[in-house]
Amino acid sequence: MEEKEFAKLQEGDRESVEKLFASTWKDIYRFIYYKVQNREEAEDITQETYVRALDHIRRSDKKIEKHVDFLKTVSLNILRDRWRKRSRRGTMVGIESIDPTETAVEDSSDIVSQRELIRNALDRLSEEQRKVIELRIIKGYSTAETAKIMNKKEGTIRVLQYRGLKALAELLKNSV
C-alpha cells in the first residue's frame, strides 16, 4: 500500500475505509467463521475487527503492509479476549486453545489436510454414529428430522451423537 493511501486510512477517509473493507472482509469473515461456526458471532467479530484495526491504524505510526494478515491477527486477539473473559468465570478450554495449529487456517493446504483428518476420523466411527453426525452437523437436520430419517427415537439420536462426538474427539486428539 502506498504511503498516501495509508495516510488516508489513518485519517479515517471514508473511501479508503470502504476500499479496504470491500477487498478484505470476505477473507476475514471466513477466517472467523471457521473458528466460531455461526453467522451471528462471525458477523459480530468481523465488525469489531475493523473497529479495532482502524483504531490501531489511526493511533499507530507503523505502516501496515499486509492488511489481511494484520486483520486476522486483530480478529484472533478479539477471540482470545472473549475466551479470557469466559475463562475468568470458570474452567474451560477456549476456542483458541482447542486448535494448536490456529495459524494453519491461513494456509489453504493446511485447511485441506485438517479436513482430511476429520473425514478420516469420521470414517472410523460406527455406521450409526457417523450417519447421525453427518445428518445433524454437516447437513444441519434437527434431532426430530434425523430421528425420522434413521427411524429411531430422538433420545437415541442424542445418545448416538454424544458417543460419536466423544469417539471423534479421541481420534482427532490422537491424530494431531
Binding site: 485519517e11 479515517g12 477517509d13 471514508r14 475505509v17 470502504e18 473493507f21 470491500a22 472482509w25 470476505k26 469473515y29 471466513r30 467463521y33 471457521y34 473458528k35 466460531v36 461456526q37 455461526n38 453467522r39 451471528e40 458471532e41 458477523e43 459480530d44 468481523t46 465488525q47 475493523y50 473497529v51 482502524l54 483504531d55 489511526r58 472473549r82 469466559r86 475463562s87 468465570r89 470458570g90 474452567t91 474451560m92 478450554v93 476456542i95 482447542i98 486448535d99 485438517q114 479436513r115 476429520i118 469420521l122 453426525i133 452437523i137 454437516i138 444441519g140 434437527s142 434431532t143 442424542r158 445418545v159 451423537q161 454424544y162 462426538l165 466423544k166 471423534l168 474427539a169 482427532l172
Partner: protein, 565 residues
Amino acid sequence: MRKKEKILSEYIDSLNAEIKPARHGKPAESAELEELMDTVRKVRSLREPAMPGDGFESRVISGLSKTGPIHKKGASSKSSAKYARKRVWQKSLAAVATIALIAVLAYFILPFGNSNIVHAMERSFDAVKAYHGILEIATIDGQGQETIQMVLDVWADKEGRYHVAHIEGTYDGLITANNGRTKWQKRAEEKSLNVFPAFPDPYRFAFELGKEIELAANAIEIREVGEDTIAGRQTTVLEVTPQGGLSYRIWVDKETKLPLRKQSGMFNAIQYRMTYKDVEFADAIPDELMSLSVPDGFTVVDENPVQLVSSIEEAGAIAGFLPAISLEAPEGFEIERIAVETETKTIKMYFISSSDGYEKAVLSLRRTNSGFEPDAMAVLGKIGDVDTEIILNVQDDLGTIPGGGVYGGSNDICSVRWQHDAYEYKLVANISPEGLTVFIKDLFGKELTIPAAYEEPQEGPMIKVPYDIEVEKNTQKSVDSGSSPWRLDPVYVAQVFVSLEMSPGGIEGDYPIDYDDLSILSNDGVNAIIEVNDPESPISRVYLERLVRQDDTGIWTVVGYDPAP
C-alpha cells in the same frame, strides 16, 4: 450424562440456526463438554461457511461511521468524543442551513452503495424551506382494489413545524399543528381545541418528506425498479429495503428529486399507498396557519396546564419542595424556562441546546410515596446505583398526542425516569442515548448506565421453550403492520404464556394470572426476565428474548422458564 447429551444437542441446533450459542458466552460446565463442542465446530468446518445476509457491508460501514473509525469531517473532536450525538437531518438544518454542513452530514450517514440516489434527494431537500401538498392515503387489497382512506392537506417546514388538516376520510375536519411554541388539535365535530406543549411531540404525520429521505439514507439497500408517471410528473421507482420491516417502494420525481409516492409491501393481502398531489415549495408556512386561534363556539382544553415561574425558588414555593439539583445547565445547554404543574405539584425545567436550539429536554420533579414501577416496554438501567426506566422511542407521554400508528415512524425522543429520596425524576429529551448520559452526568453528577444487550449473559432458564424462528419472523411482520401489538410488551407476552400453562385448553374470560402480578427482573432490550408473583402460578420466572429484531419494534418470544419451587 443425559444433561450433557441435551446441552450438546442444543449447541448443534444453535450453530445450525447460525445463532451464537449461549455457551459461547458462558463458562463451560466441564472440559469434556468444551472438547465435544470444539469437535462439533471442527466437523462443521467441512461445510461451506454461511456468508452474511444482504446489507452486511453497508451495516458495517454504517457502524464504523457511528463508532468513530470513519472520520466525520467538520465535527470538532470535543463534540464527537464527548457527545457523539446522532445527527439527524433536522438538527443540522435547524442549526446552520449551509450546504457545506449538509454535505458533510450526508457524507457519513449514506449507506454503502445507495449514495447517489440518496445524495440527490438530500441535496434537493436541502434547498427546500417549507412545503405544502395534498396527501392521499389509500389501501390496496389482494385483488388490486384501491380504496382512499383519507386525504390530508399538509404544510411542513424544516424547523419541525407543521399544520396537517384532514380534508377527507374518517377524521375529516381534524387539524393537528405545532408552531414550535405550542401544539394544538382542532376537532371540528366536537368543537374542541386541545392544547399541548410543543415538546415533546411524538406526533408524526405520514410521508413526511425529510423523514422519508432519512429512512432511505439509513436503508440497507435501494434499487431502481422502473419508471412511472404520477399526477403528470415523471418519476423513478425505487425499492427500499429498510433496516427492519418489509421492503417498500418510493416514486421519486425526476425533476425535483423528491419522493412523491410511497407504497408499502403487501402483507396480509393489504398494502398502503401514500401519494403527494400538487406539491409546492415555499419560504415558510403561512402565518395564519401557525397562529393559534380559537374559532367561535370552540372549547379550549389545556392538556398540560403549567404556571411559568421566574426562578427555581418560586417553583419550590408553589410545589412545596425545593429540588436538590444543580441549577447550572449541562454543558452545551441553557435553561429555557421553569414552570410548575400546579395540579400535580410537579416542577418542570426546560432545557434547550445553546448552539442551534434543536435539542430539547424537559426535567420533571415531583414528590412521591408510591413504589417505583417501570413501564413494561422500558429498558432497565441505572443512574448511579438507582434503578432507572429508559424508553428510547417515546410514543406517548402525559399531555402529548401519541405518535406511531399505521403510518407513523420512530422518533428520536427518549425518556428516563427514576426515584430517589422520595422524589421522582423524569427527563424527556430528543437527545441521543450517548448525549443523554453526558447530560445526566453534568446535571446530577451520576452515571446513566444503559444495559448493553448480550454483554453480560444472563442466567439461563431451567426449562427451555422451543421456538420456530420462521414463525417468529412472520409474527414480526404481522406486528410491523399493526397486528398483535402486545407482542412488543414482554410482561404481556409472559402473562399470556403463564396463563396458557395454567389453562392449556384456552383462556376464557380473565387471564388466570394478573398483569400486575408480573414484575420485570431485568430487561436489557434484547433479553428480559419476568418474575411471577402469584402462589397459584406453576411458573416463577419467564425468560424472553427479542429473536427477530433487537430494537423497540422487535417482538418478544418466550425462550424458557423456571417452574415454581
